[in-house]
């Protein structure tokens, strides 16, 4: 009897936060953000650009400050700043013998520092700087929801239409270029998508943790499969589940959503690290059987 009553109480507790619109929006955004970052993160991780998410989110913070100073739309300004930063990184890597990690380090930290200086001099634009830095998923608006839905649909369309070009360019850019794929266009569009992804998910994760959302689900998926198509799907799933579970954990544990989402994804990483080998072998066996 006692046990039944306790189970009932647990069930009520788990569903209670869904009575609040802000929480439902937060869960929706966190789940979508996880799926979006998981899928886009596959390309980031496989291009050995894991640090770019970290750098780009910082750079976009700088963009917010500059857009606020100039009095233009914060999203557009920050988005344009992020795209410019990403394209600058690509341009520097192509034109100078500098590794992408070093170029990311130089360009994004400079863009972030510029934003910090602007905030210090003229104050924070619109949103609270702390919320941008550490995430404030409970403060998401419908505009945030629609933004992330739009970016997710855009990402789905881009990856579906350009799937083979993206894969070929990521795996073997030289050969892709030799056989007629316009790799510089593919790279530029991917950077635009990455900037849009970071921009639209920053409110959930915060500048400091958005990189984890891009990297951890992709790394978990890589440990579970040797197939690129399956990696994309698994990374999207791991990201979405991390967002959903992390948001709920955030409410019940009374801890900020960014850390709980990242810690959930990190738990998946530990599981994949321990059991990834046998999972991959079984998956290969299933593929062979079919």
């Amino acid at each position: 009897m006692n046990s039944t009553a306790q189970s009932g109480l647990v069930a009520i507790d788990l569903f209670k936060p869904f009575e609040f619109e802000f929480f439902r929006n937060g869960v929706l955004v966190a789940t979508l953000a996880g799926a979006l970052c998981g899928v886009v993160g596959c390309y980031v991780v496989l291009r050995n650009m894991s640090y770019i998410g970290h750098g780009l989110s910082h750079s976009i913070f700088g963009g917010y400050a500059v857009a606020g100073l100039l009095g233009i739309n914060l999203f557009l300004g920050a988005g344009a700043w992020g795209v410019l930063t990403a394209l600058a990184i690509g341009g520097i890597v192509r034109r100078r013998p500098i590794g992408s990690d070093a170029a990311i380090g130089v360009v994004t930290t400079a863009a972030f520092a510029f934003g910090l200086a602007i905030v210090q001099l003229y104050g924070s634009p619109g949103r609270n700087a702390d919320a941008l830095l550490f995430g404030n998923v409970l403060g998401v608006t419908w505009a945030d929801v629609w933004l992330i839905v739009g970016v997710s649909l855009g990402a789905l369309a881009f990856i579906s239409i350009g799937y083979r070009q993206l894969l070929f360019t990521t795996f073997d850019a030289e050969v892709a270029r030799a056989t007629g794929v316009r790799t510089s266009v593919v790279d530029a569009l991917l950077m635009v998508l990455l900037s849009a992804t970071v921009l639209s998910t920053m409110n959930v994760m915060g500048v400091t943790l958005v990189a984890a959302n891009l990297v951890i689900p992709a790394v978990v998926a890589r440990m579970l499969t040797d197939s690129f198509a399956r990696m994309l799907i698994l990374a999207g799933l791991v990201g979405a589940v991390s967002g959903f579970v992390g948001m709920n954990a955030s409410y019940h544990l009374d801890v900020a959503s960014g850390p709980t989402i990242v810690l959930t994804a990190a738990a998946f990483f530990v599981l994949a690290f321990v059991a990834g080998g046998s999972f991959r072998q079984r998956a290969a066996g299933v593929g062979h059987a079919h």
Partner: protein, 274 residues
């Protein structure tokens, strides 16, 4: 045919159908630290099987890239037959073997131009099976590319080039890192594909194991030192100018064998018999 048309002049625009596939004229490439290629004249015709040889840093890979159009020339021209489809098999050292891609995915990604479904269609799956079977890779489509032998790995990337329906395939050091038996198998396969009409251009360090068995060789050291059949170019004078050190040519079983001249010996002794 390959030749050294130094005095030949080329008209602007693409090469007309029915003539040579690719023509490089007075081609120079400069990466900003001096010329890597200087005044290279080279013609690739239908059904050629050409090996480009030369020491490290002689510009072999750069020449391939310039012919493919992925490296810009600082002078001269490269002209391709209009509509020519090309394939490239990269050096195995350039492949990211930890990349999550199965054999079927690796081959399938190559058909990327124009509107394509993200998934491999049923018709394409059939074509991939055919090309894998043709190259002796039947039943390996689900495997990760790392989980194959060296020879199989080389053939996967050859399959990828064939899947694009390439008329000419470029291979950068296709036998690098392979054992003697596998190297022989790869050479045999390339000969077979060439007999079926495929034009092949490859670079190699291996004078005796690969170059000596090809119908045509180009000796390169920034510029073309010699071009022709093994009998024409595997001679001490051309090799010494290509490699910068004296070499002997031995005859063994009707084949030419290139050996380094012993230290302190200047000039080669052509025609020695093993």
């Amino acid at each position: 045919m390959i030749g050294l048309p130094a005095s030949q002049t080329f008209t602007a625009g693409a090469i007309q159908p029915g003539t040579d596939m690719i023509e490089a004229a007075q081609l120079s490439v400069d990466y900003g630290v001096g010329e890597v290629l200087t005044d290279v004249d080279l013609t690739i015709a239908d059904s050629d099987l050409v090996g480009i040889v030369g020491p490290s840093g002689s510009g072999k890979s750069t020449l391939l890239k310039a012919l493919l159009g992925t490296v810009a020339s600082s002078a001269g021209t490269v002209k391709k037959r209009s509509g020519l489809t090309v394939g490239l098999v990269p050096q195995v050292e350039q492949i990211d073997w930890s990349f999550p891609v199965t054999v079927a995915e690796c081959v399938g990604m190559a058909r990327a131009r124009g509107w394509r479904t993200p998934w491999i269609t049923r018709a394409e799956r059939g074509e991939i099976c055919e090309v894998l079977e043709r190259l002796g890779l039947t039943g390996l489509g689900h495997r990760h590319i790392r989980d194959l032998s060296g020879g199989q790995q080389q053939r996967v990337f050859l399959a990828r080039a064939l899947f694009t329906k390439a008329e000419v395939i470029f291979l950068d050091e296709p036998t690098s890192g392979l054992d003697v038996r596998t190297r022989h198998d790869v050479l045999h396969l390339l000969n077979e594909l060439n007999e079926q009409g495929l034009t092949i251009v490859l670079t190699t360090h291996d004078l005796n194991g690969i170059a000596a068995h090809l119908p045509k060789i180009v000796c390169l050291n920034k510029s073309v030192i010699g071009a022709g059949s093994p009998e024409e170019v595997l001679v001490p004078d051309v090799l010494e100018r290509t490699y910068g050190s004296p070499m002997h040519i031995l005859e063994h079983g009707g084949m030419r064998v290139v050996v380094d001249a012993p230290l302190g010996v200047v000039g080669g002794s052509d025609g020695a018999t093993a």
